[in-house]
């Protein structure tokens, strides 16, 4: 069986998800036995126009990025969105809460008016092209990425949990952040991270996006029970689950 050719592309993001792939270390060699990486700017110089799987990291923030992404999609039989920025727009979408001129001024100061710094409202990869698979998280979970790669190499559908983080959090016997007086987005967020943040004593921020049928309405009565305000919840939802303030999306 020939190894599938994989090309890894990056758009707007911190490149931390690609770094997680590099951080596979020894397992990276195993990965290279399974797939043939033909383009990956972060880790090699070669480029290629011929690939079976495109892995796309980052959010889409400029019109020319949209065009580049569409060209990648045309060449890619399978496209994988890598990380929160690609999957949902991620933190970058906070920009969408303000006018683009304001965003330019905040980031570039006096130079914000320069035309080459033109910018557009942030989009997730799926808002521009069809996405076949999502590897969520900020950053991605290395084990999950490895698992998805093996599934794709085998032509098998990966099993990604649809249930909330609470399942994994309870299994780890973590202290419930709600019971510790915090707003935790675990009940709304897709599992698969092993409840990494609550296990370290930090509330879930929702970096893996919403779980299936996330019960945002149910959260209203929970806020009241724990003496929390809608504003406190919304400030947390803004980070990942509702970054552009248009309501919780179901990616």
């Amino acid at each position: 069986m020939p190894r599938p050719r994989v090309a890894i592309f990056d758009f707007a993001g911190c490149e931390g998800c690609q770094l997680q792939i590099v951080n596979l270390e020894e397992a990276l060699l195993d990965l290279l036995r399974v797939v043939d990486v033909v383009e990956w700017r972060e880790a090699m110089s070669e480029q290629s126009d011929v690939f079976d799987i495109a892995v796309v990291e980052g959010a889409i923030t400029r019109l020319e990025d949209e065009e580049r992404l569409k060209r990648i999609r045309q060449k890619a039989p399978v496209l994988v969105a890598l990380g929160s920025c690609a999957s949902s727009g991620g933190l970058n979408k906070l920009k969408n809460r303000m006018a683009m001129s304001e965003a330019r001024r905040l980031v570039y100061g006096r130079d914000g008016g320069v035309s080459r710094l033109d910018t557009a409202p942030v989009k997730a990869v799926s808002e521009v092209v069809k996405v076949d698979y999502l590897v969520r998280g900020c950053p991605i979970d290395r084990r999950e990425f490895s698992y998805v790669v093996r599934c794709l190499a085998l032509g098998r559908e990966p099993f990604i949990p649809g249930y909330p983080v609470c399942v994994e959090c309870r299994i780890r016997e973590n202290a419930c952040r709600w019971q510790e007086g915090e707003i935790c987005l675990g009940p709304l967020t897709r599992a698969g991270c092993g409840a990494a943040c609550p296990a370290q004593g930090a509330a879930c921020l929702g970096c893996r996006g919403t779980c299936d049928d996330a019960n945002l309405e149910g959260m209203a009565s929970v806020l009241a029970q724990y003496g929390k305000s809608r504003e406190e919840l919304e400030s947390r939802l803004a980070v990942f689950l509702d970054p552009d303030g248009k309501g919780v999306s179901h990616a």
Binding site: A27, D30, L31, R33, V34, S146, Y147, R150, A153, L154, F159, G162, Y163, P164, C166, V167, R170, I171, E173, A175, C176, W178, C184, G186, P187, L188, D212, D213, A214, N215, E217, G218, S221, V222, Q225
Partner: protein, 340 residues
């Protein structure tokens, strides 16, 4: 076997002795809560615990376990049987739950993985010395149990009474050396402890007998409560995960980088999770959260009791503790259905 007595220091010494040549699992502190954990020394034991975050089932049915490993040439190997271990300090309601699990995994289709662990386990029960905030075992008849354990410890005044019920329990207790018989006064004190626990473990009071629950549910399939309470439910499965009588699991195959070798793993599943009742072709028998919410109570207090004669709830109260939305209290559900 006659009931023996042991002072707390001798009990610790005995556990440290056991630890020289076997695994001993017992309750220890984690933050301001308690968990069952493999002990490294007896002094970590917290026999005064009220309840644990997860029930001890995690050592009999692990949250994730490899059932078998396989190679591409159709060779496969089952997992090696576990070494003997002592499960120490299990409260009576959890003993009752383990008895129910034993039946599930041994009747009809015998589950060799569970039964191997169960066979390797010496179950040392402990009458509760503290009652957790949501415990209602007293209403479910499981605040004390007279069967299901190999050895039972009860704290009576400054001493522990030890009673063995099986050869396994006797043999374990013999390793403590020569012990004095319990005095008649101590046995009376143990009776009083049992009565006191039966009364204290009623943090929520069920307004009917557990035997009435299947009939109560039969009459209330379309009660508005299911929808109302499910509106707050996140379908997060916390109630399933922490439940000592929930035993449902999912099985997945995983391959390693060879793409040929791998393992078949089973992991806990829960009926509150949306995909639990999804089947091939995409149909889901309980697509809506209210259907799943209702199913859990029907499963515990109607479907299983109709097969086994026992309510599949031991009143440990962990689901009440664990539910962020505070919508998982079985006693509230049943009392509302009773019209109280």
């Amino acid at each position: 076997m006659t009931v023996k007595q042991m002072d707390p220091a001798s009990l610790n010494g005995w556990v440290d002795g056991l630890l020289l040549n076997r695994t001993v699992i017992g309750p220890v502190q984690k933050g301001d809560k308690f968990v069952f954990e493999s002990l490294s020394r007896a002094s970590d034991l917290r026999l005064d615990y009220d309840t644990t975050l997860l029930p001890p089932k995690k050592f009999l049915l692990p949250s994730r376990e490899i059932l078998l490993t396989f190679r591409g040439d159709s060779h496969y190997a089952s997992q090696a049987p576990p070494d003997p271990f002592v499960l120490l300090g299990v409260h009576p309601y959890d003993v009752a739950a383990i008895r129910q699990m034993d039946r599930v995994f041994s009747e009809k289709q015998v589950d060799t993985h569970y039964m191997a662990r169960r066979g390797a386990c010496t179950l040392v029960a402990l009458d509760a010395q503290a009652v957790s905030p949501n415990n209602f075992a007293g209403c479910m008849g499981t605040a004390t149990v007279r069967e299901g354990w190999d050895l039972l410890f009860s704290r009576v005044g400054g001493a522990y009474l030890a009673e063995a019920a099986t050869e396994k329990g006797e043999s374990l207790l013999r390793s403590a050396g020569l012990l004095a018989d319990a005095a008649p006064g101590q046995l009376e004190e143990r009776d009083r402890l049992w009565e006191s626990n039966r009364q204290a473990m009623r943090r929520h009071v069920l307004h009917c007998s557990p035997q009435d629950l299947p009939g109560l549910l039969s009459r209330n399939y379309d009660h508005p409560l299911w929808q109302e309470r499910a509106e707050r439910c996140f379908s997060c499965g916390a109630c399933n995960v922490v439940c000592p009588t929930c035993y449902c699991f999912d099985v997945q195959d995983e391959v390693d980088w060879s793409l040929e070798c791998g393992s078949r793993c089973r992991a806990w599943d829960g009926c509150l999770l949306r995909d639990f009742a999804s089947v091939a072709g995409g149909h889901n028998f309980r697509r809506h959260s209210a259907e799943r919410y209702r199913h859990r109570y029907y499963r515990k207090a109607k479907y299983l009791p109709e097969m086994t004669g026992e309510i599949a709830c031991v009143g440990c109260g962990r689901c009440v503790d664990a539910c962020v939305a505070r919508t998982a209290n079985p006693v509230e559900v049943y009392n509302t259905l009773l019209g109280d």
